[in-house]
Amino acid sequence: MTPVSAAAVWLHPVLLTVVALRVAAGDADAPWLALGALIAPLVALLVPARRSVAANPVAVVAAALAVTLVLAADFVIVADAATLLGGAPWHGVVPAAALALLVSRLSPSRRLVGPALAVGAAALALPLAIVAGTMGAAPWTAWSHGGLRATLTFPEGSGWVTHGERFARPARLTFTEGQRVTTLTPGTYRVVERDATPPTVREWRLTGGESLTLRPGDELAVEAGARLRFEAGRRMPGAPVSGVAWADAPARGPALLPAAFGALVTLVGGALALVPGTRRRGTLAAAGPLVLMAAVAAAVGWGVYAAAAAPDLALAGSPLAPLLQLPPRALGAATGGAVATLALGAVLVLLVAATLALRGRLAAATPRPEFWAAAILLAVALALWSADPWRLLVLGLGLAAAVWTPSRLASGRASAVVGASVGAAVFVALAGLPLVAPGPAAWLGALVRYPALLALPLGLAAARAPVDGASARRARVRSNAR
């Protein structure tokens, strides 16, 4: 596999768009997630050729499930596009799944991966360059501008104020300032009033055009696809209170360290499973790292410019919002619409490249085509059922890290099975803990969110231990050689 094809396995639309949204929203973990999105695949490219998992049934099943979860996360992003454009989620998911099945059946599909990734990365960066050129600000200037805002309020020209915008997924909005919210789609809106103990819960069945008056401290539950209009000049619910809070998230503190390491272990472990090491040398070998850096830099750039020009974009909750809604805001409706279409096209091309590359990785684990078809069907079901693409991606990469990676780095065939089994058992126990014991202890929080944090080291320890005769013989040979 070429370095560019190896990079395509990693550069999923869900990863890039989530990085963009996290940066735009000022999430505490955005800096190390962005850095992890780049360095994790670089580490994987440098790790020498790893053991095939084809003879390990535990790893094969885990590989198929991990691929399914990552595909499902990508499909949720396409579902978001459909929702933000006024359609139903399946309007995006079903065509994307059909495209994934169709393209992967083409005979030259493996040769398409590299060109598709190059085109997708360029098409992701070009609209950003147009937006940046129009704004006339370098990325660091835009970041500084976003970090200096006194308050984050709805601007006069915001789509949330003029014609209303849609929520891509269910949301709970906590208001720090009173304001009148106009509902533009009929539905049930639940308001939790926290000015009394216990809180009062009111449910309103509203038609389009009716208003809700919310007070500071109130919480409004919104369904996916709901379209709302807010008042200009009022604070955005759920957003950082100021530019300083966006730049230096108040939640950032030592207590976040376990979750930070959990995210990084998941990314690196997942990359070690998914991204194959490359044997190519010479100047062409530089293409993989360069494409990775360009794509991740573009994702960070989308987040920074969205925060500077339109901090309200993160409110929709969709990772696609910065790409689809920043260009019209920065360039005007006509030009911006065309540029946003180009950005959406980039996401679709990246999806094709990632899908083809993923199919190649699954085929390396098990060549049976029914695994791929089943993975796509299951991914469609998961994408329509689950609302959180980041959770799906973390579970997919975490499962790959916990089961697939120990099997690939094992010291022998039997060790590979043992390591994969240990990783799988720990991963399933931690990921499933909230189902059997809701509200686990706080110290378990990072392990439940990122099960690979414990499952990967335990799986690796088991996989590196010599348990069969061959491994023991190899260990003796190494010992004698010394």
Binding site: P31, L35, G36, V43, L46, W143
Partner: protein, 67 residues
């Protein structure tokens, strides 16, 4: 330096660069919040310095030799 040792050293360097971001962000007294030319030290590190260094290290090792 042999190819495997060079790769091993590069992987260790990349992991150190990676861990630097949360340590800079979450260390007591928040050194990552210090502004340099309008941008926080954390974002200079995670958005510019570490990515360029990491990509350079990976390219240097990949271009110079296979396995």
């Amino acid at each position: 330096m042999s190819v495997p040792r060079r790769r091993h050293a590069a992987i260790v360097a990349l992991l150190i660069l990676l861990v630097g971001a949360p340590l800079l962000a979450l260390a007591p007294a928040a050194p990552g919040a210090v502004r340099v030319a309008g941008v926080s030290l954390l974002w200079w590190y995670a958005g510019v310095v570490a990515p360029v260094l990491a990509t350079g290290i990976a390219i240097a090792v990949l271009v110079r030799g296979g396995e």
